[in-house]
């Protein structure tokens, strides 16, 4: 799963005067495509931008377990259930790799969790849509994880070493997510009329939110230029979105399903698909927390954190007693 950096950044260009020399070394390293590691000097704004982006990415993985967990007990077969369970475990693992990467920047996982629960941190808008039918499990794997892969592959070369290494692991695992989703859609699309309708309905509902996953258009994405210069981000939002449309349309055609966009057509001169206008008002509303199930998602996270607090406390108390006994 994936999220783009959604918060305004006003502190990007502030570099203290005495850091000019170290900043020059840093900029040269990044421009030369070298990795920055945790103990290396880095500008505060780079650190803050990374913490924001990596933690949003981690939160997305964790919140992303909720829409799929919704169908775990109602999977249509044991095979599908085992697959879905494995995928959800992967999302959890991805969240943990990313929290670890962010922690190397000097923030604790608990601080990040608190920021999410207090509404100070964002996660991908895609998870604020409900999963209404079983076909949504297929559509999420195919489209949402498909979009995530396109976003994440270039991040394997992102300039911050721990983030890049986490992305290598995540990308290796993500491909299974997309393929199982497509296979699940294929079964439905080739099934009964009712199953085919269910698959089409899922595509209809997930198509536009998936396109929004790539973030605002390039001309409305003011921080992109700095993030690209720092090699935190490697491709523009619109370029990745176009790539997603171009690879996904033939996959939908192979399923015999219709992309819900009347303006979608092949453009011979651009050698790419033209697609219709995205409803950015909806996107910004979901970013503001007005998504259909935004409150439910956050409430579920807070509940999981709070109702399991006694387990963490008990584990720590047990260890305190154990080490005391050992010392005695």
């Amino acid at each position: 799963m994936y999220t783009v950096s959604l918060s305004p950044e006003t502190d990007l260009h502030i570099v203290a005067a005495d850091d000019t020399q170290r900043n020059a070394v840093f900029e040269a390293k990044v421009a030369d495509d070298q990795f920055i590691e945790p103990k290396d000097w880095m500008p505060d704004a780079y650190r803050k931008t990374l913490i924001r982006q990596i933690s949003q990415h981690a939160h997305s993985e964790i919140v992303g377990m909720l829409p799929e967990g919704n169908w775990l007990t109602r999977a249509p077969s044991l095979r599908r259930k085992a697959i879905l369970l494995a995928k959800i475990q992967d999302e959890c693992g991805h969240g943990l790799y990313l929290y670890s990467a962010a922690e190397t920047l000097g923030i604790s996982r608990d601080d990040m969790t608190e920021a999410l629960h207090q509404g100070r941190a964002k996660y991908s808008t895609i998870f604020n849509y409900p999963t209404l039918t079983w076909a949504d499990m297929g559509a999420i794997g195919w489209l949402v994880d498909g979009a995530a892969i396109l976003n994440q592959v270039p991040l394997q070369r992102t300039s911050y070493g721990p983030y890049a290494r986490a992305m290598v692991r995540i990308c290796k695992e993500e491909s299974f997510h997309q393929r199982q989703g497509y296979e699940s859609m294929m079964v439905l699309a080739q099934g009964t009329e009712g199953q085919r309708r269910m698959a089409q309905d899922a595509l209809n509902r997930w198509w536009w939110p998936s396109l929004m996953m790539f973030g605002p258009p390039d001309d409305q994405s003011p921080n992109s230029a700095q993030s690209m210069r720092w090699r935190i981000k490697r491709d523009s939002n619109d370029a990745l979105r176009q790539k997603f449309v171009d690879v996904t349309v033939p996959q939908a055609q192979a399923l015999g399903l219709t992309i819900p966009d009347p303006d979608l057509k092949w453009n011979e001169t651009r050698n790419a698909y033209d697609y219709g206008a995205i409803d950015w008002a909806e996107f910004h509303a979901v970013v503001r927390g007005e998504g259909p199930v935004a409150k439910e998602r956050l409430a579920a996270r807070i509940d999981a954190w709070e109702s399991n607090a006694w387990v963490r406390d008990a584990a720590l108390a047990h260890e305190a007693k154990r080490s005391q006994r050992k010392a005695a």
């Binding site: 103990k39 475990q89 693992g93 922690e103 406390d313 584990a315 260890e319």
Partner: protein
């Protein structure tokens, strides 16, 4: 949020014959919980046959600021490499 679970570094041996390699970290209250978390987080796809975990706080790392004094002296000691020495082509097995 005062009671944070401590951080542990995780090392995995991919197969016998290879060294344990650092793969990431986990939070856990005690060594056993750390091992179990490491198993769940880092070996879901047969990535390893053995795990090490150790408290992150116990790692002592070199300071990047001292890198020049630590590592640069090796740069002008190329006579430590076999290619520094010229041996005629007709001399074999050396």
């Amino acid at each position: 949020m005062t009671n944070a679970l401590p951080l542990w570094e995780v090392f995995v041996r991919a197969k016998n014959g290879l060294a344990h390699k650092h793969v990431g970290s986990v939070h856990a209250a005690d060594p056993r919980m750390a091992l179990e978390a490491a198993r769940d987080v880092y070996t879901r796809r047969m990535e390893g046959v053995s795990l090490w975990v150790l408290p992150s706080a116990s790692i002592i790392a070199s300071d990047p600021g001292e890198s020049p004094s630590l590592f640069d002296p090796a740069e002008d000691k190329i006579y430590r490499h076999p290619t520094f020495y010229i041996v005629p082509d007709n001399i074999k097995h050396i």
